[in-house]
């Protein structure tokens, strides 16, 4: 189990690490590249949760008809929380690409806080993986500063 998780995280981090921004991009382009990676990570997290919402778990009590009571692995309520948070995050990144990291990490924290206990338990590893991916994206390049101005000298002869 732990091995599988390690392999999974390593493969995803590796996938991120390979995606270094091309040299053809300006500093703003590199920033957009990183923002795009964050959007892909958030989108993939959302996609995973939607897929988990389709999974039915039949571990409830046996009903009168002899069938076990089933429920979605991730409830509709929890899925909606994730979708709303992801939508708000990608909209924010679209408007302020340079704020991709705080926007995405804050969204994951908010999701974690809003989920109910079963949701937190089920999505714990998914949230951790998404966070790992976001933290693996390199920092944006520092904005270029203009040529340094010469310090005027006073009191010269």
């Amino acid at each position: 189990m732990r091995l599988r998780l390690t392999v999974l995280v390593a493969s995803i981090v590796f996938a991120c690490g390979c995606a270094t921004a091309p040299a053809s991009l300006s500093p703003v382009g590199v920033q957009l590249w990183h923002a795009n990676e964050a959007v892909v990570a958030i989108g993939t997290f959302q996609h995973s949760v939607i897929e988990l919402n389709k999974v039915q778990v039949c571990d409830g009590p046996i009903a009168a008809n002899g069938m076990a009571v089933c429920h979605a692995l991730v409830s509709d309520r929890n899925t909606r929380i994730v979708i709303d948070a992801c939508a708000a995050t990608v909209r924010t990144i679209g408007q302020i690409p340079e704020g991709w990291r705080p926007a995405a990490l804050t969204a994951l924290d908010q999701v974690d806080a809003l989920l109910d206990k079963p949701g937190q338990q089920t999505l714990k590893v998914y949230l951790a993986t998404a966070r790992t991916i976001l933290l693996a994206i390199p920092d944006d390049p520092k904005p270029r500063t203009g040529p340094s101005k010469l310090i005027p000298r006073f009191g010269g002869a």
Partner: protein
């Protein structure tokens, strides 16, 4: 945590990211421009919003 969930995560999550990243690099073999990255970002944002809206359309809120 059910080990099958981890496998599902590995099979769904990682290849999707890898493919999207490869797509950025690939295409014409030329290095992407700022405008192309800007367009990719806008397209991916719309894709995330569309997937969420599609799910919500099929699951109307009862609250």
């Amino acid at each position: 945590m059910d080990p099958n969930l981890i496998l599902q995560l590995a099979t769904v999550f990682a290849p999707m990211i890898a493919k999207l990243f490869r797509d950025h690099h690939a295409a014409t073999g030329e290095l992407p421009t700022d405008d192309e990255i800007r367009a990719a970002l806008a397209a991916n944002i719309q894709a995330v919003l569309a997937e969420g809206n599609t799910w919500k359309a099929g699951h109307p809120s009862t609250e």
